[in-house]
Amino acid sequence: MSDELVLPLAKPVIGVSGKTGTWRLQRPVYDSSKCIKCRLCWLYCPDSTIDINEGGIDFITINYDYCKGCGICSNVCPTKAITMTPEG
C-alpha cells in the first residue's frame, strides 16, 4: 500500500463508528424459554451484534454496545422471543 497517496481505504475493526448502542431508543430483550434456536435474528441483524452460544443456557447474546435498536431481530423472530422495550 502506498504511503504517499491519500486513499479512501480503511481496515475493518470492531465499532469503527464508535459505540452506536448509544443511539438506541428501544432495547431488544431476549427470552430464552421461547427461543427455538432458528438463528433468524443472528442472520438478519444488520450490525452483527447478535452472537450465537452453541450449548449455552442463552442461545444468543446481544451486544448492547453496538445494537442500535432497529428491531429487525424482534420482527423476524417466529416465536416472539425478542421483545422491544423502551430504553430508560
Binding site: 502506498s2 497517496l5 491519500v6 479512501p8 481505504l9 463508528s17
Partner: protein, 394 residues
Amino acid sequence: MTLKTLTGNYAVATAVKLARVNVISAYPITPQTTIVEKLAEMVESGELKAGMIRVESEHSALAAVYGAASGGARVFTATSSHGLLYMHEMLWWVAGSRIPVVMAVVTRTIGPPWNIWTDHSDVMDQRDTGWLITFAENNQETLDETIKLFRITEDERVFLPGIVTLDAFILSHTTEPVDVPDQSLVDAFLPPRKQPYIFRAGEPIIMGNIPRDLKWNMMMREDIDKAMERAKKVIEETDLLWGRLVGRRYGGLTECYRCEDAKHFIIGVGAWVGDMREAVDYLREKFGLKIGLIKIRYFRPFPKEDMIKWLNNAVSAIVFDRSVSPGAGGPIFIEVLASLASAGVRIPVKGVVAGLAGVDVTPEDVANAVLTSVSEVEELGTFKQSISWFYGGE
C-alpha cells in the same frame, strides 16, 4: 515494425492486445462496437489471453473492469455517447479509488435528436471526474497513445484512470496505414502492472467508507488534483521514451505546429486538427499569415503552462470547440482564457463553437473563419464577438 491498414477502432484493439490486458468488458454502442468485437475475436482465437465479460449495460461495463482492476488485473473497456453518460457515476468511483483503468471513448453526439456522428460533448461531460483525457488526431496516434496510457495511468506518481478519445467514423471507421510495434518492444516499454492497493482474499480492506473527518474526503480530492499535476511530467517523459523506441514523438500535453514566428493561433483537439494543419499551411502560403496551430493532446490534465508559453506574445487566438456548455461557451475556450488570465496574459481570444452533431468543418471553413477573425483583430484590436457559432460551408 509492421505497417498495417487499420481503422481507428482496430488500432485501439491492437494496442490493447499489445498491452496484454487481463480482463475486458464489452457492451455494444455505435461507433465503439468494433473495438470490443475485434477484441472478442482475438480472445476467441487465443491470440489474446484475457477474460471477456459481456455485461448488461455500460454502467456494468465499467463496474466489471473496476472490480477486476481492484483485484490487480490490467483492464480495458470502451464506449461512446449515451453509453458514456450512463457510465458516468462509475467514472467517479474508479478515479476516486485511484485504480488505473484504460478506456477508449469514440466520441459521438448526445441526443436528442438522435445522432451517431462525432462531437465532443460526451467526453467533455467527464471533465471533472478525475480521469486523464487524451485526444487522438489520427489512427497512429490512437494506437500509440492507448499503449502509452497504460504506462501513464499505472505510474505511481499518477495512479488515475485514463480515456483515449477518438472521433466517431472520422477515425473509428476510417482505414489508415498504422505502424504496429512488435510485441517485444511493447513488453519492454510497459512494466508489469502497478496500483496503489489490491483487494485480496484473506486481507480485508474497506474502500470508500465514510471518513470520520470530512477533511479526509476533501484531501482525497486534492490528492487527485495533485496527481493530475504530476501527470503532466509523466506524460512528457512517456512521450520521450516511446519516441526513442518507435521514432514517433507527439509532444507532451500539446503540440505547436508552425509556431516559430506565429502571431495568431488556432487551438483545437481531436481529428479535425488534421484539417487545421491544412488550413494553417494554406493561410501561410496563400496569404502570408503568420499563424500557428496549438493541438491540445491532453485535455486532462489541462496544459495551462503550455498555453501561457505559446500565447504569451501572441496577437490573437481562436479556439475551436466541438462541444459547448450552454450559457458559458466551449469548455476549451473557457480553460484557455482561465490559463492566460492566471498568468496575466491579456490577448484577444475568440471561442468558436463548431462541428457539433457531426456538422462537417473543412480546412477551407477553418481558413475562412480565421481570415474573418484575424481581420477583425487587425482592424479593431479585438474580436467583435468573444464567442461565435460556426456552421461552415456557404
